[in-house]
């Protein structure tokens, strides 16, 4: 077809039909303009549809409905003695719940926020702008219980409790030290351990998620 029109020569439709070639042509638009438009339109449509069709294959890797459905868990925190921690699994990750001693709370409160490597609260239950003061690391002013993800903010290892230079947690993988409020104090981790969204159902029961 392209060969029949080489040089932009207008050839009679009957003649092309006789030669077994089909061509659509009008007197107002020359073939080359018409074809440029069709080529670009077809090419653009092809690229567009190919681009759109990629999305489902990318998005299928995101968390599915069954994973999202497991996003809430209730825990009875009554039996946790002072100075004791428990670890429960929430969304596949460990959540550390600690019944802090008065000394631990005092230690955490004694640190000026300005001295902290990460001055943000990282608490899903307070405003994003809240600072990392100890009061903003707990919920409903209940200072006894510290609830946070046991996932080091460096590369995701589980920090060990009652360890490290600040009497809190220590990550064995790359040596990050967290204090008694779960705030990063030393090491490569960039952020405080995050406090997940949770609420007190009663004095001794919480729902995480």
């Amino acid at each position: 077809m392209a060969g029949a029109c080489a040089g932009g020569r207008e050839i009679g439709v009957t003649q092309l039909h006789r030669e077994g070639l089909i061509i659509v042509s009008t007197m107002e638009t020359t073939d080359s303009e018409r074809r440029d438009f069709l080529y670009i339109a077809t090419g653009a449509a092809g690229v567009g549809f190919a681009g759109i069709s990629v999305w489902p294959f990318i998005d299928q890797m995101n968390p599915d409905a069954s994973v999202l459905a497991l996003s809430s868990v209730e825990v009875d925190i009554g039996p946790i003695e002072e100075g004791q921690s428990i670890t429960i699994k929430w969304r596949g990750n460990p959540v550390i719940i600690r019944h802090r001693t008065p000394k631990e709370i005092e230690d955490a409160k004694a640190v000026p926020v300005a001295d902290l490597p990460d001055p943000a609260a990282r608490n899903a239950n307070v405003a994003d702008s809240a600072d990392a003061a100890d009061a903003n690391r707990v919920v409903d002013g209940n200072e006894k219980y510290l609830v946070m993800l046991g996932v080091c903010t460096h590369l995701g290892c589980v920090p060990i409790g009652d360890a490290g230079d600040f009497g809190g947690w220590f990550c064995p993988c790359h040596g990050s030290h967290y204090d008694t409020a779960g705030r990063i104090r030393l090491g490569p981790a960039p952020e405080n351990l995050p406090v997940p969204p949770f609420s007190y159902l009663s004095d001794t029961k919480i729902r995480i998620g």
Binding site: I58, M61, N62, P63, D64, V67, T87, K89, R91, G92, N93, P94, G150, V151, H154, L155, G156, C157, V158, I160, C171, P172, C173, H174, G175, P188, A189, P190
Partner: protein, 419 residues
């Protein structure tokens, strides 16, 4: 170099096939008659060794999948089942696991061969860059394969390495969640790693095909670094190099099977015989030995994002190596200063490997910082400057001349004691 063979086939069936698909001509020209420099030493046999390792990994891997179950509840047990119950399963599984290590031993020797003899220089830049892509694909394949037995080190290795992507500004967390298919490494992660671990070796095969194609356009380099000038400089690939490669492959396999039969767990970690537990991180986690130098670079930098950037940069820098090395002389044999730098680089890489295996504290951090700095200085400062200041030794005019000069030196040395 890859000229068409004018061979006429006497067998009518071969002739019929070849006139329709010239595959016989191609094999004859590219794999048998292919003119190859006659002075290649044993460092040049590692290409053939690597091809053999790829085939071994493919065969053992496909067989293992007949018995393996990619599910968090069954993966660990199914690997134990392969080791204990499946006929020859113990050997096949150990061959696959140790095969990965030996694949990397071979690829590191192959890469340092390229560095020593300047194999990345014109006209072989694309050949070299495809090789770096192969190395990256190998690392991804090895990493995902190590996750599949679902032991403690599998799990925590996967978690730490995927978390590297969380260092990316703004999108980091979303990317990691997407990679995991959840909020932690879990069943979705295991299943996609299994799928990709099965896919990537075929991508590797395609890359290896391109690598060999590029090799057959430029022809082999050689230890002297002078291009082939006449037919006198070459011999046919078959039988001279098919047999030399085969001998080297057999010696290499002796070492591999030595490990498989007598010390199958030496290169692994005992903690990986404990099933994955998402709530407890082992006290000391390290990647497989072949990632240790890069792991040391990651940990040497105190900033999370910069550490990740440095680690990837240490590999990606190899892509631009052909343009960083300004010297026109290929072989380190004729570059006295570069030869010293090369051996220092070898020691630096081994040193980084040692640092990567140690806990990130005290002197080990300082050592890995110094070594990391040297690694980047080598490629970014020393190599570009050296080409401008170094005086290379005089090059022989041809491969044949250098071979004859060597033989002459040998015969005079042999003749002297007789006098």
């Amino acid at each position: 170099m890859s000229g068409h063979s004018s061979y006429e086939f006497s067998n009518p069936v071969v002739k019929w096939l070849d006139s329709r698909l010239p595959i016989v001509t191609m094999v004859k020209a590219q794999a048998m008659d292919f003119p190859t420099p006659k002075n290649l030493n044993y460092w040049w046999t590692f290409g053939g060794i690597l091809a053999t390792m790829l085939v071994i990994q493919l065969i053992t891997g496909i067989v293992l999948v007949m018995h393996y179950t990619p599910h968090v509840d069954m993966a660990f047990d199914s690997v134990e089942h392969i080791r204990r119950d499946v006929n020859y399963g113990n050997i096949i599984q150990k061959l696959h696991a140790n095969g990965a290590s030996f694949f990397f031993i071979a690829v590191y020797i192959h890469m340092f061969r390229g560095l020593y003899y300047g194999s990345y220089k014109a006209p072989r830049e694309v050949l070299w860059m495809i090789g770096v892509a192969i190395f990256l694909a190998m690392m991804a394949t090895g990493f995902m394969g190590y996750v599949l037995p679902w032991g403690q080190m599998s799990f925590w290795g996967a978690k730490v390495i995927t978390n590297l992507f969380s260092a990316i500004p703004f999108f980091g967390e979303a990317i990691v969640t997407w990679l995991w298919g959840g909020f932690s490494v879990d069943n979705a992660t295991l299943q996609r790693f299994f799928s990709l671990h099965y896919l990537l070796p075929f991508v590797l095969c395609a890359l290896v095909f391109l690598h060999v194609w590029a090799l057959h356009v430029s022809g082999n380099g050689n230890p002297v670094g002078v291009e082939v000038k006449s037919g006198q400089d070459t011999v046919s690939f078959h039988p001279y190099y098919t047999m030399k490669d085969l001998f080297a492959i057999l010696v290499f396999l002796l070492f591999l099977f030595g490990f498989v039969f007598f010390s199958p767990d030496y290169l692994g970690h005992p903690i990986n015989y404990v099933e994955a537990n998402p709530l407890v991180t082992p006290a000391h986690i390290v990647p497989e030995w072949y990632y240790l130098p890069f792991y040391a670079i990651l940990r040497s930098i105190p900033d999370k994002l910069l550490g990740v950037v440095a680690m990837f940069a240490s590999i990606l820098i190899l892509f631009i190596l052909p343009w960083l090395d300004t010297s026109k002389v290929r072989s380190a044999t004729y570059r006295p200063r570069y030869r010293q730098l090369f051996w220092i680089l070898v020691v630096v890489c081994l040193g980084l490997g040692v640092c990567g295996a140690q806990p990130a504290e005290g002197g080990w951090v300082i050592a890995s910082r110094i070594l990391t700095a040297w690694y980047f200085l080598h490629f970014l400062v020393f190599l570009p400057l050296l080409g401008l200041f170094e005086t290379p030794k005089p090059l022989p005019s041809s491969i044949s001349e250098s071979v004859l000069a060597k033989q002459a030196a040998k015969s005079t040395a042999a003749a002297q004691p007789a006098e």
